[in-house]
């Protein structure tokens, strides 16, 4: 395997609404930030890959217009996944592994504000048996939370503490949508209160990957991807044990998470209860700094939130605040699909 690193990361300020911005306008600043940080131009990039979903914009081929923000002329080698940008990063990492590219630009964006995101997400459920019932994302997460409470894995006070820790940590994150002392709030869907749930917002993120010496030339302390893997579970909630996340566990094993301790974990857990599931699957103890950015509870721009976890973990390595970090992204109802990566600074590799 080639050594590949995240060498630059940028994200927007995440906002409840961005009516005045098109997706291209939302993306342009972060694309420029990662290019400026590395000194690369679009024509220098070996491969470009993006992640997004048409359903958020309410129109087909949303990504074709977003491509305009990249300035793709002369034509570029480019692809798109209808998935969170974390999977776009994975595709780009594979491309670099083939040797056909040494650098990659990865970006993701999502505007949840044009629609009712709880309704929109019901459309990703089994279209014949489940989606017609319109079970929304908060209700499904509440099922999972109640299963955890019933299993004795957590309680409402512990969930509230996760929310408080995340949003307090987000006070140091200028991009966060929610930060500071956030009250637990009323029940949204019992047992989940508003404080247990992510904000709905618009946002974008971009990352640049580079291989080997190219990465060293572009970044003082590259965040090396020592392992990356993703796994999916069955779709039907009735055939899954919702208190477990075997796909996260398997992806972590394949990514080498358990080879040595990590000091940081950026977990894509939009609901407090999901952090409980992920901590268990990943075997994270209290000694690990979890979601110092505030995580998805502080800002959850759909399709970008997973890529942001990779970016936040990488940025801590860039700044020397972490030597070995875990980054996680999720997709689908109740943590159906999960990606895990291990990022390391140079010294940790030696």
């Amino acid at each position: 395997m080639r050594d590949v690193a995240i060498v630059a990361f940028a994200q927007t300020d995440h906002l409840r609404r961005t009516d005045e911005l098109s997706e291209v306008e939302m993306l342009m600043p972060v694309l420029h930030q990662v290019l400026d940080a590395t000194g690369l131009r679009t024509s220098d990039i070996g491969f470009t890959c993006s992640g997004s979903s048409d359903y958020l914009a309410g129109r087909a081929f949303s990504f074709t217009m977003a491509l305009d923000g990249v300035g793709a002329h002369p034509p570029i080698s480019e692809s798109h996944v209808e998935m969170d940008g974390a999977w776009a990063l994975y595709e780009a990492w594979v491309k670099i592994q083939t040797g056909e590219a040494d650098t990659a630009l990865v970006y993701a964006y999502g505007k949840s504000s044009p629609g009712q995101v709880r309704d929109v997400l019901t459309r990703q459920l089994d279209p014949y048996y489940t989606a017609p019932l319109w079970p929304d994302s908060v209700a499904l997460a509440a099922l999972q939370a109640q299963a955890l409470i019933d299993a004795g894995d957590t309680d409402e006070a512990a969930l509230a503490a996760i929310a408080t820790r995340s949003r307090t940590d987000a006070s140091d994150n200028p991009h966060a949508q929610l930060s500071g002392a956030v009250p637990a709030g009323d029940y949204l869907v019992q047992p989940l209160r508003t404080g247990d749930c992510p904000p709905i917002g618009d946002g974008a993120a971009a990352v640049i990957l580079a291989a080997g010496d190219t990465a060293r030339a572009l970044c003082a302390r590259p965040a090396w991807i020592r392992g990356i893997d993703h796994r999916i579970e069955a779709h039907g909630l009735g055939v899954r044990e919702l208190t477990e996340s075997p796909s996260t566990r398997l992806a972590a094993e394949r990514a080498g998470v358990f080879d040595r301790p990590v000091d940081t974990a950026e977990l894509h857990a939009p609901f407090t209860s999901q952090e409980v599931v992920l901590r268990k699957a990943l075997g994270l103890g209290d000694e690990v700094t979890v979601n110092p950015s505030g995580g998805a509870l502080a800002a959850n721009p759909l399709m970008a939130a997973g890529l942001i976890r990779l970016g936040e973990a990488a940025a801590r390595i860039h700044r020397g605040e972490s030597d070995r970090a875990l980054a996680h992204a999720t997709s689908g109802p109740c943590l159906q699909q999960n990606l895990v990566a291990v990022l390391e600074g140079e010294s940790a590799h030696a």
């Binding site: 491509l67 998935m83 083939t98 699909q337």
Partner: protein, 388 residues
């Protein structure tokens, strides 16, 4: 370390029809996947990862359907990726899957693309609301017709060429049991007498709306050694994209298409595509795109593509058969159409194309494009493993 050679050892398609009322989305994709596994002599347990593609989720009204389809495609516990690059997606999906093998991340990958257009309305799915796009485009035909007209003006092609392509592709489709349109009574006169839809594009020169899926099994050298049937080897593959609209864009022959073909030929060691390639599965949703892409892909000089078509070069028994399967003009489950091109190219060099087999095909090109003629994906497959 050089890339791992990638082999196509299994191909499966559904019979493509206007509406598969007898199966769900899951049932449709599973049919193609099972057929590909049978062709490869493999079981679900042999598959390390699944890569699927389709065109906009709006076509069926299911957001990110990979989540729902994970069970049907045996992906539980495995990595699963969903690619979406507009009309080129079927090709891009195959290339993403091929890269997983080439990079030695996985050894055997199932890749599949589908569309079940009967569950929704493609015209609605493509009619973008204001303010995202000007409300003047009557679906894809309305977008592409002016570019066809520009091609005719630029090259002086006679207005008979489009109907020749449609007549050829629909006759070829009669030899392909999986093709959607089987018009047994077709004549050139009937093609020419069809109503004009978007001048100069006649109804008979447009693609149908199909339900269908196409799957392939891609594997490494060791996997190819175990294949019960001859594999097709990937000699080159590439994707190129350019913006939808910008001042310098040539809609008749986009730069991204030229660059993509050039990259594939470089990888495959092809210097004279017209002589060195035996069959082409080309993405031709409107008949005039055959002569246009013949030029864009380097099979003819600029302005000369229509002459190849007119001379019968692209007929099934011609010197450079184009779309022996009947092509997109005869079968168009949109998200799958690109992968069908890639898969049919593989069938040709495996000698498994049945009645529409091109005699002695050793190297074949699969081609797809999408969006506003801005996304391109292609691969070149051969009967022999790549050297070096």
């Amino acid at each position: 370390m050089p890339k791992e050679p990638v082999a196509v050892v299994g191909v499966g398609q559904t019979k493509h029809v206007a509406a598969r009322h007898d199966v769900s989305l899951a049932g449709l994709v599973r049919e193609a996947a099972v057929a590909a596994l049978q062709d490869a002599g493999l079981t679900w347990a042999d598959i390390d990862a699944v890569v699927i593609g389709k065109a906009p989720d709006f076509f069926e009204g299911v957001m990110m359907p990979a989540l729902y389809l994970a069970d049907a495609l045996g992906a539980v516990g495995k990595p699963m990726l969903r690619v979406h690059t507009a009309g080129s997606v079927g090709g891009s999906t195959a290339l993403v899957a091929a890269n997983l093998v080439a990079a030695r991340v996985h050894r055997t990958v199932l890749t599949l693309a589908f569309e079940k257009q009967s569950e929704s309305n493609a015209m609605w799915g493509l009619s973008l609301p204001i303010p995202f796009q000007q409300p003047l485009l009557a679906g894809a035909g309305g977008f592409f017709a002016p570019h066809v007209r520009a091609y005719m003006r630029r090259t002086g092609a006679p207005d008979t060429v489009g109907s020749l392509v449609a007549y050829k592709d629909r006759r070829n489709a009669l030899k392909n049991p999986y093709a959607h349109i089987h018009d047994t009574g077709i004549t050139l006169e009937k093609v020419q007498a069809a109503p004009m839809l978007w001048d100069p594009i006649r109804y008979s020169e447009t693609c149908p709306s199909s339900d269908g899926a196409c799957a392939m099994i891609l594997t490494d050298r060791a996997g190819a050694d175990r294949s019960p049937h001859p594999p097709a080897w990937v000699h080159g593959g590439a994707m190129r994209s350019e913006p939808t609209l910008f001042a310098g864009k040539d809609f008749v022959s986009p730069q991204a298409g030229k660059d993509c073909a050039a990259d594939v030929y470089r990888q495959a060691g092809i210097s004279d595509p017209r002589r060195e390639i035996d069959a082409v599965e080309m993405y031709v949703p409107f008949s005039w795109y055959e002569p246009m892409w013949l030029e864009n892909l380097g099979f003819a000089d600029e302005g000369e593509g229509w002459k190849l078509t007119e001379a019968g070069v692209t007929e099934l028994d011609g010197d450079l058969p184009v779309n022996p399967s009947g092509g997109v003009l005869s079968t168009n489950p949109i998200g799958a159409s690109g992968m069908i091109r890639f898969a049919e190219a593989a069938l040709q060099v495996r000698g498994q194309a049945g009645e529409h087999q091109v005699e002695g095909a050793r190297r074949a090109l699969g081609h797809a494009y999408g969006g506003g003629a801005q996304f391109f994906s292609m691969w070149l497959v051969g009967a022999e493993p790549p050297t070096g």
